[in-house]
């Protein structure tokens, strides 16, 4: 099927903490997930089940121990779990976006430039990238006076909106959203719901963790249960 955007097979991930006497614990085992273009899948499951770990594996931020993460990139399915760093960077530049709950602030880089950066890396002319950044920040109700400031001093909600703008600006075909509305007020939550709907309309596949059940039920086409593994100990 050529509308498959992501197909995860047999994914396993655990951690070995060498500084804690080498304690090992598995988090994900034999995880399988399939997401099509234009579809939004919400990860469900209790806190600590491994939803965020799965997201981080899907982004290549955590290395997978086993299994495959096949995603559509440049028209073909490639296995991100086996990709070298250069290929992962290419996939992140062109195909795969990730909106985390936290903003890693770069000193002295303005909010507008933080949002425009991924667009510019994809070859969008600078002026156009900045204009698109401006438009998205405005849509997310970030006061204009903040656009030229580095986001170090922004509030949690302001940083989250910046992250959202950065994640939605390039129009990635595959987008990961980790609690995208956690620190937002009702008005901005509506903006996020609309952005997700528009991205789906444009053919993006979206995987999200949504603690806000109302938002989740409005944007998600289905749920994918992540079950906690039985304690190894």
């Amino acid at each position: 099927m050529n509308d498959i955007a992501l197909r995860v097979e047999g994914l396993a991930k655990g951690f070995t903490l060498h500084l804690q006497g080498g304690a090992s614990f598995p988090v994900l085992r034999d995880e399988a997930l399939e997401v099509r273009a234009g579809e939004c899948v919400a990860l469900a499951g209790p806190s600590g089940a491994g939803k965020s770990t799965l997201m981080r594996c899907l982004y290549g931020n955590y290395g997978s121990d086993d299994g495959r993460i096949r995603l559509r990139h440049r028209g073909a399915l490639l296995d991100l779990a086996a990709a070298d760093p250069r290929l992962v960077r290419e996939v992140r530049r062109e195909t795969l976006g990730y909106v985390s709950q936290f903003l890693r602030v770069i000193p002295r880089v303005s909010a507008r430039e933080v949002v425009a950066e991924p667009l510019a890396e994809r070859g969008t002319p600078r002026a156009e990238a900045l204009a698109r950044a401006e438009a998205l920040l405005t849509r997310l109700n970030l006061p204009r006076r903040l656009h030229d400031l580095p986001p170090a001093t922004f509030s949690g909600g302001e940083q989250q909106r910046l992250n959202l703008a950065r994640g939605f600006a390039p129009g990635y075909p595959l987008l990961l959203l980790d609690e995208p509305t956690a620190s937002l007020d009702a008005a901005n939550r509506e903006v996020v719901v609309a952005l997700i709907a528009e991205a789906k309309q444009a053919g993006a596949a979206i995987i999200g963790i949504f603690h806000d059940i109302e938002v989740r039920d409005r944007v998600a086409d289905r749920l994918h249960e992540v079950r906690p593994l039985p304690d190894a100990a």
Partner: protein
């Protein structure tokens, strides 16, 4: 591939400073080599840059014409030519990278002259432009770098290094001796310049935060060996090796 090292080994007496180190660098890629003092990271940088010969293994550099050159087999003159035209080196201590008896503008301009530029007005204009790019006041062009602060000297060294548009830059703890507030500004400046110029960089640092900010990829060294390597955020957020876990856990979260 712009630089490829295979199986480098180098011992100082009983100490194995490099023990079977291999790595690749691609054009436009920033590679951070991290580890503690004595891990072999500075020795690795010297060997990659042709300043030290390994006991075994070799370093290949793909030059601007695409020809592959073995660094250890180059003559002194060939190596000097590379330093003039294609390579740059940023020292930890700016006084090692600058000529302290020459004016600030002269420090930048003489690299251009060495690269073949002869027109005085052009050289002076270009030197002024590069002082601006590293946020130094061009009005201080004729001042001695001795009258500059450590952070300013480091920025001047960066201007001196980059003015000739090298393809490959080696950096040895470029923020090492500076105050924390000055470090952030310098890192940000380096980050912008490296991206704008599309430089390939080998950055040696013990500063994990600097590596995270600048590098696409990280190599972790200990006792002369590479213990872990990979995409920067993967290595730092999901460290596998005991030593990498220790390095990452030792950083105060900011």
């Amino acid at each position: 591939m712009i630089l490829r090292a295979g199986n480098l080994s180098l011992a100082f007496g009983a100490v194995r400073a490099l023990d079977g180190v291999s790595l690749d660098l691609w054009p436009g890629e920033v590679l951070a080599v991290v580890g503690e003092s004595g891990s072999g990271k500075s020795t690795l940088l010297r060997v990659l840059a042709g300043q030290m010969r390994p006991d075994a293994g070799r370093v290949l550099y793909a030059d601007a014409t695409g020809a592959e050159r073995e660094i250890g087999a180059l003559t002194e003159a060939e190596l000097r030519r590379l330093w003039r035209s294609e390579w740059g080196f940023v020292q930890q201590n700016p006084r090692d990278g600058l000529r302290m008896g020459v004016s600030a503008g002269g420090n930048v301009g003489e690299r251009l002259m060495a690269a073949g530029c002869r027109h005085y007005g052009t050289i002076r204009e270009e030197a002024a432009e590069w002082m601006r790019r590293v946020e130094l006041d061009p009005a201080r062009m004729d001042d001695s770098p001795r009258t500059f602060s450590g952070g300013m000297q480091q920025r001047l060294q960066i201007a001196r290094t980059l003015v000739t548009r090298p393809r490959l830059v080696f950096m040895d703890e470029p923020t090492g001796g500076l105050d924390v507030s000055v470090q952030a500004k310098l890192l940000d400046l380096i980050r912008g310049l490296v991206a704008d110029l599309g430089l390939a960089v080998v950055l040696v640092t013990h500063d994990i935060a600097a590596a995270r900010l600048l590098a696409h990829r990280i190599v972790v060294m200990r006792h002369g060996r590479v213990v872990e390597q990979g995409l920067t955020d993967r290595v730092l957020d999901d460290p596998r090796h005991e030593y990498t876990q220790l390095l990452v856990a030792s950083v105060l979260a900011a």
